[in-house]
């Protein structure tokens, strides 16, 4: 439901359209804000060797509702969340996460969060990693959010995505929600 800036009431009769727009519809907009959510249960885990940020779904499918979420927002703040398990190809390998909004990364350099994969964790279950990020002042309209990642040189990064890997059959979650 779309949000409408609440009316400033004056000395006028109450009419049904005003009540429906400013009370009914706005309450519904608050109760059910724009949200995009994905819980991975895929046929194969995601991998990357890119040392610059690329979309997690760079290997496909490039469709909305997976690691790409499109929201039509009312203007305000957005909460972005990811949690999952990753590993490199050897101890000391690094994995970094970021998000882009409308094609622009939200954090430069090494992104939102990173991990050095310790000895013994370059196989299932890997390393837990996640974030909950608040993006303020997002303009009203349609916005595309994409989870991105990169690794350091020589690393093959793996993200478990519910592909049935023994001891690594994790189902990460990526969601985006307007919170004001």
């Amino acid at each position: 439901m779309a949000w409408t800036a609440p009316k400033t009431w004056t000395n006028e009769p109450l009419v049904a359209t005003d009540m429906n727009t400013h009370i009914r519809d706005n309450l519904l907009a608050l109760k059910e804000p724009p949200t995009g959510h994905y819980e991975a249960d895929e046929g194969s885990n995601r991998t990357t060797t890119s040392t610059s940020f690329v979309n997690v779904d760079a290997s496909g499918p490039d469709i909305d509702g997976i690691f790409r979420q499109t929201l039509v927002t009312n203007g305000g703040d957005i909460q972005i969340h990811f949690h999952g398990n990753v590993h490199g190809s050897a101890a000391g390998d690094m994995v970094f996460l970021n998000v882009s909004m409308d094609g622009a990364v939200l954090a430069l350099n090494d992104g939102f969060i990173g991990i050095i994969c310790a000895t013994g964790t370059n196989a299932p279950p890997g390393n837990p990693i996640g974030f909950t990020r608040l993006i303020t002042g997002v303009s009203a309209g349609s916005h595309i959010f994409r989870l991105m990642w990169k690794v350091d040189t020589g690393t093959t990064g793996t993200m478990y995505t519910g592909a049935g890997t023994s001891n690594g059959d994790f189902h990460p979650q990526f969601w985006v929600r307007e919170v004001s």
């Binding site: 949000w3 609440p6 009316k7 400033t8 009431w9 004056t10 000395n11 006028e12 109450l14 400013h22 009370i23 706005n26 309450l27 608050l30 305000g76 703040d77 949690h83 000391g92 690094m94 970094f96 954090a107 430069l108 350099n109 090494d110 992104g111 939102f112 969060i113 990173g114 991990i115 050095i116 310790a118 390393n127 837990p128 990693i129 996640g130 974030f131 909950t132 990020r133 608040l134 303020t136 350091d152 919170v179 004001s180």
Partner: protein, 174 residues
């Protein structure tokens, strides 16, 4: 926008003042709750060698946020979300502990609510719901300690391979 305990309507005329206060203003208060955000970006990464809890940075707007909450909307207490999304580092395997204070009172006793034991770079992300917060102004602070040696919190300071921009935010949830 300030919240006003919603009026209990009776069979009386409705005035514009009441509609503005109880509908317009309260809708806006729900849409834009009290919130404070720190995008962690400094000229140098944070570091500590303290083995007892200490402020990371008590400057208002950094790892200290003051918000004025409105409670549960009916004169009672409400809930606040405290969120950290950050990356820690140590050169050797140590423990780095985190805890939250509200108005100077420790919210997580003993060794806090989060500990990371490892060497190298690792994530520190959590969201803590603090319940029963009275309406009014409250100060939220993040503190840390280490088991030994030096612990770091990356601050987008240009450190090669660890140039990461974390976030610390506080928001009224109800």
């Amino acid at each position: 926008m300030a919240w006003t305990t919603p009026k209990t309507w009776t069979n009386t005329g409705v005035s514009r003042g009441e509609l503005n206060t109880h509908l317009r203003d309260n809708l806006l208060a729900l849409k834009y709750p009290p919130c404070a955000v720190y995008a962690i970006q400094e000229s140098s990464d944070y570091s500590t060698t303290s083995t007892s809890f200490a402020d990371i940075n008590a400057t208002e707007g950094k790892f200290q946020h003051t918000i004025t909450t409105t409670g549960d909307g009916n004169g009672g207490n409400g809930d606040v979300l405290v969120t950290l999304n950050a990356t820690l580092y140590s050169a050797t395997s140590i423990r780095i502990y985190l805890r939250i204070l509200m108005d100077g009172a420790v919210q997580n006793a003993d060794d806090g609510f989060f500990v990371s034991e490892d060497s190298g770079m690792r994530p520190a992300s959590f969201q803590v719901l603090i319940r029963n917060v009275t309406p009014g102004s409250h100060i939220f602070k993040l503190q840390w300690k280490v088991s030994s040696s030096t612990g770091f919190l990356q601050a987008n300071a240009g450190t090669s391979g660890r140039d990461i921009k974390g976030q610390f935010w506080v928001r009224e949830a109800s």
